[in-house]
């Protein structure tokens, strides 16, 4: 299929040609939407309605899976489909009657429908051991085991409000870990191991030294060659040196693992956006099913489900009850690691008498 002329800088195709006719007609003229059932929306426009069926996807998918989806789209939604910002597949149906058959066929193929409104939607996640050199854990596996456990909250709408999960496999946080209701973050816990034999060739010393946010890296000389050394007391395992210098690998099977974070949100609804905060500093990497992690996440979800009020995101709920109560209710241990010691640490100290006793 190769062409002879080489085209560059053409940009992506115009979205226009991927829009369902009903969408085109009502573009910018939608009146309102309604939820018909879990995973199914209707948007009512001036000249008609469009029905959305939202289906789960593991995101790491093969052409087989995609062809399954396009096949269903051709059959039920006039060949139109889209992906959401959280990697779900959305079928855009002009014909209401196609909803049930579509859902049935999805279900037959093991693909659940849901993720709307006050449910858990798909997990924003990253590459993990499947593709990234930097990963301290696997992302796709964690998503799978966690969503197996939380499945009911995807297919039903029974939580106080939306609950957004994210997984990232290292501190680069390629995704939404820093602003999610609950996040799982893979991390290293030991300083980089320096390969002095390759470092002088592979890495630029000044860039490497500059990469460390804590000034833990110093140039040094070994056997006449300039290399670097790390002040291990200053290292907080961020891995930024490894990003710029391949000769400083971080992987440490014994000590790599997972941490759990809670209470972030992005929307401006009610409150301003909030960062995710540390809940559990460390859980071991325990593949293939990470039982400690699934249990920890499920526990938090359930305590939230039971205690939060309608329209309260996890962070809003915690702000209402206070952090001491959060640790109390979830049974999570409060440790010295929860005390911030980074740049803006001082802004997290309690500088008032406001406390519950």
């Amino acid at each position: 299929m190769a062409t002879t002329e080489r085209r560059t800088d053409i940009g992506p195709p115009h979205y226009d040609k991927f829009l369902h006719p009903i969408i085109k007609e009502n573009y910018g003229k939608w009146k309102y939407h309604d939820t018909l059932r879990a995973g199914v929306l209707v948007h009512v426009g001036e000249t008609g309605s469009i029905y959305t069926v939202r289906a789960a996807s593991p995101r790491l998918i093969s052409t087989n899976f995609i062809r399954l989806m396009t096949g269903l789209a051709t059959k039920y939604s006039d060949g139109y489909l889209r992906f959401t910002s959280r990697n779900n597949v959305e079928f855009l149906l002009g014909n209401k009657d196609n909803i049930d058959p579509l859902i049935k066929e999805l279900s037959d193929n093991g693909v659940p429908v849901g993720g709307l409104n006050n449910s858990i939607s798909n997990v924003v996640h990253t590459q993990g051991w499947v593709h990234c050199h930097s990963a301290a854990t696997d992302a796709s596996g964690l998503v799978k085991v966690v969503m197996d456990e939380l499945y009911e909250y995807f297919v039903e709408m029974k939580l106080p409000h939306k609950l957004r999960l994210a997984v990232a496999c290292c501190l680069n946080m390629c995704g939404a870990v820093h602003a999610s209701d609950i996040a799982i973050l893979g991390l290293h816990r030991t300083p980089p191991r320096i390969d002095h034999s390759t470092l002088p060739n592979l890495c630029e010393i000044p860039t490497t030294v500059a990469s460390c946010p804590n000034n833990a890296i110093r140039p040094t000389s070994i056997e006449g060659k300039t290399t670097v050394k790390v002040d291990e007391d200053k290292c907080m395992y961020c891995g930024n040196c490894f990003t710029v210098c391949p000769a400083m690998p971080m992987a440490d099977p014994l000590n790599d693992g997972v941490s759990i974070w809670v209470g972030g949100k992005i929307s401006n609804a009610r409150t301003e956006p909030m960062f995710t905060k540390l809940a559990i500093p460390f859980l071991p990497n325990n593949p293939p099913r990470w039982p400690e992690v699934t249990e920890a996440v499920k526990n938090i979800v359930e305590v939230y489900a039971k205690n939060a009020k309608p329209y309260e995101r996890v962070g809003e709920w915690i702000n209402r009850i206070g952090w001491p109560k959060f640790f109390d209710l979830t049974g999570i241990e409060f440790t010295k690691y929860h005390l911030d010691d980074f740049r803006y640490a001082g802004t997290t100290y309690r500088r008032s008498m406001h406390n519950r006793y």
Binding site: T70, A73, G128, Y344
Partner: protein, 397 residues
């Protein structure tokens, strides 16, 4: 290609109700690349560590980004993934496709790559996952023949992305799809040839619900907003009331400024006190919608924590008209002023958010020619360390 595939650990991930990527991958395990990917992944699960080498410099001629080079650290054991590069393909605005178009891409990918993808990458690209260096050019030619182009990587403009906006959302305050398309096309050079200090991500959300997470995950968040009064359909309010919906508890008490009141079946909003948080509109979609004087607010500098700590974007321009008639000129102007100032004064690997924190908001605003406004801050300074710039001189007295 290694021996027969045995993946006892990964097999555990075929269990459970959530769609299994392992099942899916195994359906393609007849391909050497997928088979060895599974093999290496099984080994990772056993050893609790990854087996990829630090990235390598591979790419498409004339392009500086769009491909992430990846090599196995143990190619002896898993030759199928000795090369396993990803190709980032620029998605269409709003991630809309037809079956036909998607199938065409899959055809190309089945022929030249592993057949695995991420739909989509976290920045928004379609990510074609795993191919070899020699296949890159053929993939590129065939994609472009079908009107597809590469996405970004490295220190460039990253693939802009947007929420579904006016295509299917009554909240959209501007045409997110059109602006995304426009910016992506206007800045092809910035997208394909890294020459910035670091990456620059743009995300567009049609309203403050921010369904693309722009405030957290983009250097430039362009978020729809309105200036005038929230539109109220009082008859729909009456219906909510009649249906027994608890407007008092779920809307009025949750409004951050408590500027809503319900008198009988009539809802009143003191719009001068409304923060545009969208909560009431979210909860009462049949009755409420954004005002008519619409545009966007622009915030800069959202990012993940490396290196200085995570940042949400800082509001820089509280309101800008998003004017398609005008070719979005105002947005381009602002964007170019920002890039110019960042280019001149930013440091290597310094995101715009970190740059603003370093040079201070005051200097940054001066640099890009935007007036200081109380809207840009949560409070004026509480420390007395003011750098005065106007003095009385001895002579002038």
């Amino acid at each position: 290609m290694s021996d027969e595939l045995k993946t006892p650990l990964l097999d555990e991930l075929e269990k459970g109700p959530w769609p299994s990527f392992i099942k899916d991958l195994k359906s393609m395990a007849d391909r050497p690349m997928v088979k060895d990917l599974l093999g290496q992944l099984e080994k990772s699960y056993r050893d609790k560590r990854g087996y990829w080498k630090h990235g390598g410099l591979v790419g498409i001629m004339g392009y500086g980004g769009g491909v992430i080079g990846r090599y196995s650290a143990i190619p002896e054991d898993f030759p199928g993934v000795s090369h396993f590069h990803t190709v980032r393909v620029n998605q269409p605005s709003g991630w809309f496709y037809t079956s036909e178009a998607l199938n065409e891409i899959m055809d190309i990918w089945d022929e030249h790559g592993s057949g695995l993808t991420n739909m989509h990458g976290s920045t928004g690209d379609m990510v074609l996952l795993g191919t070899t260096t020699q296949e890159l050019e053929p993939i590129f030619r065939e994609l472009t023949a079908k009107d597809w182009d590469l996405g970004g990587s490295g220190s460039d403009l990253r693939t802009p992305s947007c929420c579904i906006g006016p295509a299917r959302c009554q909240n959209a305050c501007y045409d997110t799809l059109a602006l995304t398309y426009n910016i992506t096309h206007k800045y092809q050079d910035e997208l394909h040839r890294p020459m910035f200090n670091y990456k620059y991500k743009i995300k567009m959300s049609g309203c403050p619900n921010d369904c693309t997470a722009a405030m957290a995950r983009s250097d430039m968040a362009i978020i729809g907003i309105w200036k005038d009064d929230i539109q109220i359909d009082q008859s729909a309010i009456a219906e909510y009331v009649d249906s027994g919906f608890n407007i008092q508890e779920y809307v009025i008490e949750k409004c951050p400024t408590k500027c809503i009141t319900l008198e009988g079946k009539e809802l009143k909003i003191d719009n001068s006190d409304c923060l545009k948080c969208v909560h009431c509109i979210n909860v009462l979609p049949k009755a409420l919608s954004p005002g008519k004087e619409r545009g966007a607010a622009i915030a800069l500098g959202g990012k993940a924590p490396i290196v200085e700590g995570a940042l949400f974007a800082t509001l820089i321009v509280p309101f800008i008209e998003i004017d398609e008639e005008n070719g979005f000129e105002e947005v381009h102007d602002l964007l170019e002023r920002i890039w110019e100032f960042w280019d001149e004064h930013g440091m290597n690997r310094e995101r715009i958010g970190e740059f603003i924190e370093r040079v201070t908001l005051k200097t940054f605003l001066e640099g890009i020619g935007v007036e200081p406004m109380p809207q840009q801050i949560t409070q004026p300074r509480d420390n007395p360390y003011i750098f005065y710039e106007e003095y009385y001189e001895e002579e002038t007295e």
